[in-house]
Symmetry: C2
Subunit: 222 residues, 2 copies
């Protein structure tokens, strides 16, 4: 598979890029609004992987070029860029591309974060509304601990959830996600369940904030 | 401590009653709207514990009497009974009683459940608004797998979260909760975080619904 990580220069994008390149045979492409930034980051990832004896090519392009021929396109951008990002790449998406939305809207208040979804109910629903009608959108990878994900020395041992209305697209994202060592991918049902999945992210941050010794938390369902 | 479980005849109430009576020295009192129902259930719990060689007294009373002299009062009732239940026992609460809210409002839709909080933002906030001003309310025990909790042969090995604005009250609930073997109690911050904590319950049900082999799920933060 060819996986394009739009916003692949950010926290979660970096972790996913490194893990997929290190743990799997998938081809990883880093996308950014600026091609030079994408290239610089892609080179950083290649250097990091080389230092571990893994020789892979990771390309970096401007978003619209990054999605060309990609089987999976991950929108690893802040929630307020989701719509613009999809619109900027829509014409270049491959016929059978699956779009993945990992972003979460959050509000800060005294003592924590609150889930703050867009009016359509979830960022995943927002992405689904912005994508071309024939492109399936799957919510996934919301609740990954970014630092641990990007640290290839760290064991994951955590779960992540996928939501969406297209079963084939969910299967694709599940297989791609499960290729990352120590990551179990669970089905959280249809897109209508996306808000509950996205709500887990502010909760993980709140729990880390209020318990000594816990940080960069993931979650296991058992 | 003396713990009154209002709605202690229901699923989660039963599990908490059995676990506290089995694992700790706390005195457990079962409350119900009908005294006879509370007594019958209390007797069932005593019989179950006796079959395991544990001799304890568990009393059953109508709610208003059950809360007398209780240090901790758990509102193990459906969300739509929370306000009425608090109002029916308010005059009988001990001076230093802590009220615990484990209820969650949920809506069913195709393929899952949605978090459906009351207008004040969370059931915990609803309970806090209904309780007398000097009685602290703590949200806790929302995300316990009811069947596993009530089955004393089952290992828990899960986490639960407490939220609230009164640190002493949270400490009390944390200590009482941590007395249950295999249950780690984590601080999720102030009452303003209650919605994210309560949202976890429909998510656990959705994940159990959509993954073969998973049911009666708990959660671990790691």
């Amino acid at each position: 598979m060819r996986i394009a990580l739009l916003g692949g220069t950010g926290d979660v994008g970096q972790g996913l890029a490194l893990r997929w390149a290190y743990d799997t045979d998938h081809e990883v492409v880093v996308g950014s609004r600026e091609a030079s930034r994408a290239r610089t980051k892609a080179e950083e990832y290649v250097t990091e992987l080389e230092s571990r004896g893994t020789e892979v090519a990771i390309e970096g392009y401007e978003n619209a070029r990054a999605v060309e021929n990609a089987d999976v396109v991950v929108l690893a951008v802040p929630p307020y860029y989701v719509t613009d990002t999809i619109e900027s790449v829509a014409d270049n998406l491959a016929d059978d591309a699956v779009v993945v939305s990992p972003a979460v809207g959050m509000d800060r208040h005294d003592g924590g974060l609150s889930y703050d979804p867009p009016d359509v109910g979830s960022v995943t629903a927002l992405a689904a509304g912005a994508a071309p009608a024939d492109v399936p959108v799957v919510g996934a990878f919301h609740n990954l601990p970014a630092d641990r994900l990007a640290n290839l020395d760290a064991d994951l041992g955590i779960d992540t959830l996928v939501v969406g209305d297209d079963d084939d697209a969910k299967d694709t994202v599940t297989r791609v996600g499960a290729g990352i060592e120590g990551l179990q991918v669970l089905d959280a049902g249809p897109l209508a369940n996306a808000a509950e999945v996205e709500s887990l992210t502010p909760l993980l941050i709140d729990v880390a904030m209020h318990n000594e010794g816990l940080h960069d938390l993931g979650v296991v369902f058992n």
